[in-house]
Symmetry: C2
DNA sequence: GACCTGCATGTAATAATATAACATAACATG
DNA sequence: CATGTTATGTTATATTATTACATGCAGGTC
């Protein structure tokens, strides 16, 4: 299998994902004139610690020191910033946050969520998105945002065969 | 427009929806040998009070009397029962619950959610569902359940024209 | 540099959503 | 009616998120 396309859930050199994500974030913010502050950078980095969705209060813990506790608003504000800038997604069915691979059209989200290993795979199903749009139009519905969340078992978790 | 197909969001004779839903629920439970108890029936009825999603704690309030307070577990248990029997859906992006129009395949949910009037329209997009399934299969992903939640503005809320 | 301004973060309190654990009641059935 | 099962009641608490107000810090302007 081509190494170039990373499949979350399979072993891979994750620090490439992380580095990529951070570089992209920097670029996006600089282009938009928004500030990727230390706190926001740390939160994004923690979320990109893997391909699992991360919970706000887990971030809180990870950010806190015994002496220096971080409080919820701090984390939620960083999350809001990252969401607004399309750098992360919220997985509604998990109340958790995951790094975005395509920080452009962030009102379209499509996820495969593994119930075993919790890995979240972001799909870029143009065809699904446009079919959803068409269906909505048939109802005279004006779309703001669309989300697809699929739960199940990812390929590595079903075993090598199948 | 044909009166026979009710469009949530448009004026209609809602007690037909309600009556339908309750009759279906009764049938489903009787067929499955599960019990539609008084509490479950009341919760379902409240949820079917309209085509908006209803929050658990709003149900709590509606069920409580000044003297006789209903507690969270009671409501959440009723909700769980109704979910398990495919009589309601949970709207993840709202933390709220809405009546199900198709109490069969309840691990496929597709909703149009109006940001203005909060009406939830359940779609039955076979084509969307199968495209999602196909896309998941391409990733070697084994589906348990799939959810589509689309936010935007429903037809009546965009005005009569458009 | 001194000063302002605006954005970012800190802090305290609390709201909103949901579950665990155990006690009691209602129901079905031999 | 005794018994096991399912449903509900009750208390406490866990989890997720926001409001409101105080403080700090980065960048521009004089």
């Amino acid at each position: 299998m081509d190494d170039h396309f990373i499949k979350p859930g399979y072993p891979h050199d994750h620090h490439v994902c992380l580095a990529d994500a951070m570089a992209t974030a920097k670029a996006v913010c600089s282009e938009r004139g928004t500030r990727l502050t230390e706190m926001r950078r740390r939160v994004l980095e923690l979320i990109w610690g893997g391909h699992q969705a991360v919970k706000a209060y887990d971030l809180l813990e990870m950010l806190s020191e015994p002496d220096r506790k971080v409080r919820p608003p701090t984390v939620y504000r960083a999350l809001q910033f990252l969401l607004e800038n399309g750098l992360i997604h919220r997985i509604e069915s998990l109340n958790a946050y995951v790094g975005c691979r395509v920080p452009l059209s962030h009102h379209i989200s499509q996820f495969l969520i593994c119930n075993r290993c919790a890995t979240v795979i972001e799909m870029a199903g143009e065809d699904i998105a446009s079919m959803v749009t068409r269906e909505a139009e048939n109802h005279g519905f004006l779309i703001d945002s669309q989300t697809v969340e699929v739960h199940g078992v990812c390929a590595p978790c079903t075993g090598p065969q199948t």
